[in-house]
Symmetry: D2
Subunit: 383 residues, 4 copies
């Protein structure tokens, strides 16, 4: 029986791996170990531990690794703290495979700790290209990983053709986040929202609303305030109801939070309500039921394309991704944002797009984790 | 004027970048900053600080980052400590470019700290392929780096064709270590050795000797003792004079050190003398004057090929490298090692090979560092 | 010329040492070095760096050491991070004396780093007794310190008679915070508040107001929410205007912040306005001009007694202190708090009390730092 | 049932607490948890884990916390690493009491982690006075500890009268190390030494020998080399057989190790044999069978006085201790050392002295740990 260790560092990580965890727990040949660290433990970014427990999984380790601060030095130090804590967890518990998700900055700590300690490392979302700084981290993790679970066909090709990975270790399985979208039964946003409080305007969830999720672009974190302002201004001018998610923990997120708080203080009549976190299934329905999603969350690309939800993708953070019919790219410019939203309001919805998966990703990942050949020797690149 | 920060983590790092540092100090448009960390500060691995000072350079920062231990967890923790210290140095001193050398495990800390803090990162020796675990670290650093200084034509091709780097940021300049080999005036080993003490047998340096430099292969660090034994047995059976370098700091190095110490205690009549460290120029002459070099140091490939010194490359650590005429590859097997040494003793020497550089690498690097376009945005891979 | 290094970890630290720093900068025989770390750099606790700069001092080092989290483990990890950063600062800059202030948890890092590195350590506020967990930290620092600056006569006696310190190294100088109270020229709160924004009710600063500053009691941090509720309820029921300071960074402070935010959302008609931070002089005037101070800040004891401002001291955090005529002690109980406030409103003001100093503390400290005998050998306790 | 966590940081720690651990494991109302960290895991300082396992106890946690280096900054960083690791152990395992031993620099990490996390802390050897830097650490730990187990009557008085501890929490129980001396059956050194290898001269253990154990005095670590030289010179000039223990890990220990290695290389005819570590019982017999013990190990005071073994105490490290009839104090001066050894050779042996315990310490400690009232509130000092 293999012990598979999933390292979850934030709310988004969890939604992107949850179905794979569940499928692993259903097997007799896998013992699941769940480690939650970084912003996954921090209340103001949405404590993931409670959500995981509610889903019936056990959180085996909680690692306090976030070094507070709004400048990039805190990202480096948080990565260091993650290395210190994860190395002790791996040393003590000795997993057969470590699974790391996507590309957030602290994710590289999981990759280094596992690979330096000669533990096979599996990585999801490798090979994707966005054009942002996340690319660097994602590709560096690829070079440390032994088993790859790219979400798209194109990402699989990048891993093999452009990053020199061994095709035998690359498995195009789709994104587990699509499994959630696939499985989640519909629920009205009105019903969902009885379980969340939020702060700001009182919204009427029988009427349409826009969903906003916009994070800091760490390459330009000093501009985070002006970037978020463009979106705020656009949404406010439209006077359309809006569900707004707090940003995740990145350099610049404090600038965003501050701007959002200032806005709230000074715009008591806005139609925006702010929420910290939703459970993955609830998020799917809030997204599905929305008029459109605005910002730079990757869910505006991946889950939205599966659901056919219109999406306005702001700025550079997701710019290099595969182009999808439901997405309109705009700059950090309130006029551009407003116009794109207007187009999307008219569009209503798009056809389902299976680029990011067909709902079987978690099951495929579990099968591969249980049965794949394990080795920490990577084939050398041969050119 | 650009401030260029060189991070040196061990004795080998320094020899591989020294000529570039010197060329930078000679320019008016560059201010050099030297940071020494990790095993570079540890006496038992050969304190690099004194050597750098003797060369007339100033050591601006000394970072105590080595977490002691013989298991891989210490490599992870040392990397974490390097992140913590380097992030503070970069925060306080704000360099324009950070230069990192090669592929040792703690080197990734330099790459993460610089790239997360939006400082352009230059990397030497990217694109090389050895087949060992170092490949993973080296390639991961490549994906975080903005400016690449590959040592060979083939490495340049790997960076561009197999790792997706932008050709405009890849500069084939050769290896600065060849500059040292190129510039160093001959000196007899007898004369050099008056400046070093060492322990073990008294050697007659007017007679021929073999040079041994064999490190732990971290993927198989638990086998380090038996691997070093094969080489010890071979050298001892030949009863040929031998200059033996202590291993560097890696998981498994304690096993090697212990074995070497045991050997010394129990073989008072051997013809082996052990040394901790040589200055780069002295090392070149000791290598040049030797009958052959044995082990798995990359100097047996790169400097030795330039000097035409016969080389017996033991085990997997350098296995995947470009094949060169002066190198015989053998397994960790005393009989194989002995036979290869006998062949090399007869070979005497080989023709100079310029695969790893022609002696102008440092000057080229300095020129590029002074004048290249600086950006922390990397072009997305386009496939 | 002696290099004196002041380590400032939060807004309160600075007010308690500022006059000593100023007096040191005025001398020719002292070079001042200022290090700001821990919550002193965190915007949500009140960034101290800007305040120090405005006072005309240079901040020489900024150390990002706060590990985020609301549980005590974060206090331990923050202490560890402070040790790592401070040890590098001391190693690099080599001060003649390090000065540490009071008793917050991360303060022990300054004491350990300096004393382990054989640098004489001066400590202010040693020997005070409050009955809270802070006593343990304060007394432990005393045992590591070489030069003691107790604020009161009684504290001096505790240091010598109860903690075994050498009388020759104990200097009763008063508290530098009293110097600020002594020197600060009066200014109306109305005028001061034009420089601060705050959030919450609009107050009329021509009318009287209460000042609240209540922190978490770390020994009972899980009760922080209910403890703060008692005070909130009391203040709210009185419908008296109130200036409320956010809590500092301690285990439990998140519970307090959360409760305060909830209160704000749900009590839009309250007469409470919340502020993050005031400059030391402004704080003095806001305190001086207030009807009374409520909570468990030590300023309710020390500065308030000097100013004669009525004080309601809630809970255990300051319980063991010297009793002063201007202070009424109450439990975490809204009824008790309300009654005490009513008494203090009637009391109006008290006579000036010089227990904590007469306004010359900073000058005395500077003189001693410049001229005292320096040694890191402490006299053994002789009993 | 109480979970009692013993933190062991080095070989000496273990001998000083072993009998208490054993007595705890024999009880039904205590569950023992053993944590080994710091130099306890480092082979070159004597790996304690194997010794503990051989005694039949389980090592529950191994914490890699040693930051390598010979300067005091490494002591600070090692303390920081211990804080990080211990805080995670305490967070995850939640012990009822943490037990810390004596006064080594990294011991303060145990005290801080436990007390900050509101876990009752028990401390052995508090209240002792040596006059060295260790006093500061020992007394600081006392101020953080909740339960005190002083070894001597005098130490008990110091804790209560000079350090302000509550008499109800101070238990004079003697030192567990005396239990080992009390219980250990005699064995000839010749027989013991068949189980240890060592390096250096071949000794005839049927003939008398001196035992040397001399560590660095961290306050004067830069003088460590000259201090050890005095002892080496003295022993060498006497040409008396000598069992010499390597120093423990402190600033300056590298200087000592280096000097010892040099001496070995250059004095192949000396009568000194060097050993890294002995198991506690074996150490007792080696001490008991020796002509006298020389150096600054506290075993020259405590175990030696119980055994009646003559002792020559060199330098300041143990200077302030209770004076005992078997001890002669000398300076770091080879002539003084030689003369004192000659006196002790003639003295042969002294009467048993029970100052440090009567052999029942472990049982008393276990009983108190199982039954004492637990609280993390310390009584305020009342003066």
């Amino acid at each position: 029986m293999r012990k598979i260790c999933f390292v979850i560092n934030n709310r988004a990580n969890y939604a992107r791996i949850k179905s794979a965890i569940r499928e692993c727990t259903l097997r007799n040949d896998i013992k699941v170990q769940i480690v939650v660290g970084a912003s996954g433990l921090i209340d103001r970014f949405g404590d993931v531990v409670e959500i995981i427990k509610k889903d019936g999984f056990e959180v085996n380790e909680k690692l306090h690794t976030v070094v507070e601060g709004n400048e990039p030095i805190s990202m480096v130090k948080t990565t260091a703290m993650s290395l210190l804590s994860l190395s002790e967890v791996f040393y003590r518990t000795n997993p057969d495979i470590v699974v790391t998700v996507a590309d957030r900055f602290e994710t590289i700590a999981t990759a280094i700790a596992a690979s330096y300690m000669n533990i096979p490392l599996a990585h999801t979302q490798g090979g994707e290209i966005t054009g942002s700084i996340d690319d660097n981290v994602r590709h560096a993790i690829t070079k440390l990983a032994h088993i790859h679970f790219p979400a798209t066909k194109k990402a699989e090709e990048v891993l093999i053709n452009n990053l020199g990975e061994n095709p035998e270790c690359v498995f195009h399985v789709g994104c587990p986040s699509i499994d959630i979208a696939h499985e989640t039964k519909g629920e009205t946003t009105k019903s969902i929202m009885t379980r969340y409080s939020g702060v700001g305007a009182d919204l009427d969830f029988e009427k349409p609303y826009i969903l906003v999720s916009q994070h800091s672009d760490t390459l330009e974190y000093a501009k985070a305030k002006e970037q978020i302002s463009a979106t705020l201004e656009s949404i406010n001018s439209l006077q359309y109801q809006c569900v707004w998610l707090w940003p995740n923990m990145d350099s610049g997120s404090d600038f965003i939070s501050k701007k959002l708080r200032e806005f709230r203080e000074n715009n008591q009549n806005s139609k925006i309500r702010f929420y910290k976190n939703f459970e993955p299934q609830d998020y799917i329905n809030i997204l599905r039921n929305s008029t459109c999603i605005v910002g730079n969350s990757s869910s505006g690309i991946r889950e939205a394309s599966y659901l056919g939800t219109p999406s306005v993708n702001v700025g550079e953070r997701q710019r290099g991704r595969v182009k999808l019919s439901n997405v309109i790219d705009v700059a950090y410019n309130s006029r551009e944002i407003t116009e794109a939203i207007k187009v999307q309001i008219l569009a209503k919805s798009y056809a389902q797009d299976l680029t990011y998966g067909d709902g079987t990703s978690g099951r495929q990942i579990a099968e591969i984790l249980a049965t794949c050949k394990l080795s920490v020797k990577k084939n050398p690149i041969s050119n």
